[in-house]
Amino acid sequence: MTEEQMLAGSIKNNAAAQEALYNRFSPRMLGVCYRFAKNREDAEDMLQEGFIKIFTQLHQYRSEGALEGWIRRIVVHTCINILKKNKKFNESVDIIHANGIHIREDIIPSIMQAKQVVECIRVLPLGYRTVLNLYAIEGFSHKEIGHLLDIEESTSRSQYTRAKAMLEDILIKKNIIHKPRKKLYGDTAI
């Protein structure tokens, strides 16, 4: 089934077309959700919520960009909306000075291949992880992140700086990257 057929069928609420569309994009979108979520179960809930929005808003898609990009944007927004319902998340993302946070090496997964980077990202504190996901991977600007998360733009920047430093440290320790850094925390490169 081509992408056009899937689109047309899904708009007409055809179950087969919807399932084909879901099967095509759900693995990658679950990967996106997993980076934001606490665990796989939460990620699947986010994915489900995201695809409900996708199928109900599919008629608004204008074929101006890639369908995957449009779907990804909806999924990311859904993840953020779900995270924002969590009071703990709102507190963690709004902390400007998050000094003193240390990641214990033994909780960093030792699994290999593609999943290792994602698992290292997931080790980060919730606020750091979210800002890093949005900025470095999803391509949102700090202004957009501030608007999305209801925080100051400067808060987003500082969160990202610390998140980046912490992640670099983890990746170096796990020998995933070899770039030597003199100063790991408090880097103000941005």
Partner: protein, 497 residues
């Protein structure tokens, strides 16, 4: 753009690393999604449920009305008017043509006590006076032989507990003078049947074409007469007497009933680590679960299970009854797995009872994986069980017609056969080995249900049941434990002996 300006090698590394990262969602996500997108598909099942509930309510209300209409003094009063063409026996009394009426009346009397019997005879006289009837006593229902001496009658009455008197009159019951113009011959039969006493029930339409008809005046007079003669304590006494003075055989039969039931249910499983397992030196072969939750790593899908059986119920009191029976169970659930193109080698890490729980590795070749592969497939784990449920039912509320019960059973179970796909020690594959199924197990069940008694004495039961398996499906050798549980709707019929 701001993003491009600040993009460094680090950001690019993250992007590249996460770009192709995929995870395969469980089937549960699509099923939930489908239900959300196509809610209309639920309507057929909802409609069927609604129809079922409506039918039960309708039957309940209809039958309750029928009972209320016919139950006064815990008895039924019916007036039979005969068709004049078929059953006329008109007699002339002087110049007046009157009809013949027959009044049958059945009441219960006290065993070995003259008090109520004499009351009954006195009441008989009152009826005679009231209706101006010639009453003759006859053994219509073989309870009292009128030819016996008075004492024998009393004894006979005492043994049978029930006396039937047939009253034959030659007068118009309403107004003798007004009957001159009437050529109708009327047979009036009235029965006062005490609950649970063996009375013969007249048919609604008899073979000689008599039809049921109510005569308010006659009924009122007879009712008034009986009411006056039997006050409430007497009636209660008669009721109690009849209940508690059945013979031993009837007592046993009245307390015992047989239930047949069937329970369609949804079957789940709870998988966990075997606490008796000693990891030892081969610990590295056991996977650390990605989510820290074994149940989530093994993708399982619930399936329809079935239970059927029969149970003997014995009432030890008005609220409590014991039960024991024989039950068949088919349990199953599906595992969402992936089929490999070529067999892969994997292993189970097992407790070795000979070497004192030191683990041993058992190698297998398998075509089924727990992670994405060539194509997805479903593996079915099932068991066929025979069990002996032993337990009780407790009546929470209800009346003679509808009752609400809660119950529980323990079920020693023999697992006759089954199919087992076991997750490997590294949790990457499934292997098929039925030899690990434990043959003796123990289940427990709790239930609550509504009982509805139909007019013909059949009792229909329906309500939810949860059944839980107390020991693992598999033997102690296996690294993981699995406990099955079912949530279902138990439906049954109960019939007294």
């Amino acid at each position: 753009m701001e993003k491009e300006y600040y993009t460094t090698d680090f950001e690019q590394l993250l992007k590249d690393a996460t770009e192709d990262f995929k995870m395969y969602p469980s089937r549960r996500v699509w099923n939930s999604l489908y239900n959300n997108l196509h809610p209309a598909k639920r309507w057929p099942s909802l409609a069927v449920c609604l129809l079922l509930v409506t039918s039960i309510l309708y039957i309940g209300v209809t039958n309750n009305n029928a009972i209320n209409a016919s139950s006064k003094f815990a008895s039924s009063t019916r007036i039979w008017i005969a068709d004049n063409h078929l059953n006329s026996s008109t007699k002339d009394l002087g110049n007046e043509q009157v009809t013949e009426a027959v009044v049958d009346k059945t009441v219960a009397v006290k065993n070995k006590s003259l008090n109520n019997y004499e009351k009954f005879l006195a009441e008989q006289d009152r009826v005679k006076q009231l209706l101006s009837l010639n009453i003759r006593q006859e053994n219509v229902n073989a309870y009292v032989d009128s030819k016996l001496p008075y004492n024998s009658q009393k004894e006979s009455a005492a043994q049978s507990s029930v006396i039937t008197i047939s009253n034959v009159s030659e007068a118009n019951i309403q107004n003798p003078t007004s009957a001159t113009s009437s050529t109708n011959s009327k047979t009036i039969e009235e029965k006062f049947a005490i609950n649970d006493l063996p009375i013969d029930n007249p048919k609604e339409i008899t073979s000689d074409n008599r039809i049921l008809e109510t005569s308010a005046n006659i009924k009122n007079k007879l009712t008034q007469s009986i009411t006056e003669s039997l006050n409430n304590p007497d009636k209660a006494w008669i009721d109690n007497y009849a209940f508690y003075n059945r013979n031993e055989k009837n007592k046993w039969k009245a307390k015992t009933s047989l239930e047949y039931y069937i329970t369609p249910s949804i079957g789940f499983r709870d998988i966990g680590d075997n606490s008796t397992y000693k990891p030892g030196v081969n610990n590295s072969l056991v996977a650390s679960t990605a989510n820290g939750n074994l149940s989530k790593d093994v993708d399982q899908q619930a399936a329809v299970n079935l239970e059927a059986g029969a149970a003997l119920l014995y009432s030890v009191s008005k609220k409590l009854r014991l039960k024991a029976g024989l039950q068949f169970n088919y349990t199953n659930y599906s595992i969402n797995a992936y089929e490999l193109k070529h067999p892969a080698q994997t292993s189970l890490l097992l407790n070795d009872p000979i070497t004192g729980n030191r683990p041993r590795v058992q190698a297998y070749n398998t075509l089924y994986a727990n992670s994405p592969a060539l194509s997805s497939t479903k593996l079915n784990n099932n068991t066929v069980q025979l069990s002996v449920p032993l337990g009780f039912d407790y009546k929470i509320a209800g009346n003679n017609r509808i009752q609400w019960y809660a119950g529980a059973t323990a079920q020693p179970t023999y697992v006759a056969s089954g199919n087992a796909y076991l997750v490997s020690a590294d949790m990457k594959f499934y292997v098929n080995d039925n030899s690990f199924i434990r043959h003796w197990n123990m289940n427990s069940a709790v239930e609550t249900f509504i009982s509805y008694k139909t007019n013909n004495g059949l009792i229909i039961n329906a309500g939810p049941q949860i059944r839980y398996q107390l020991f693992s499906t598999y033997t102690k050798e296996y690294t993981y434990t699995e406990k099955l549980y079912n949530i279902g709707l138990k439906m049954g019929i109960t019939r007294n002996f």
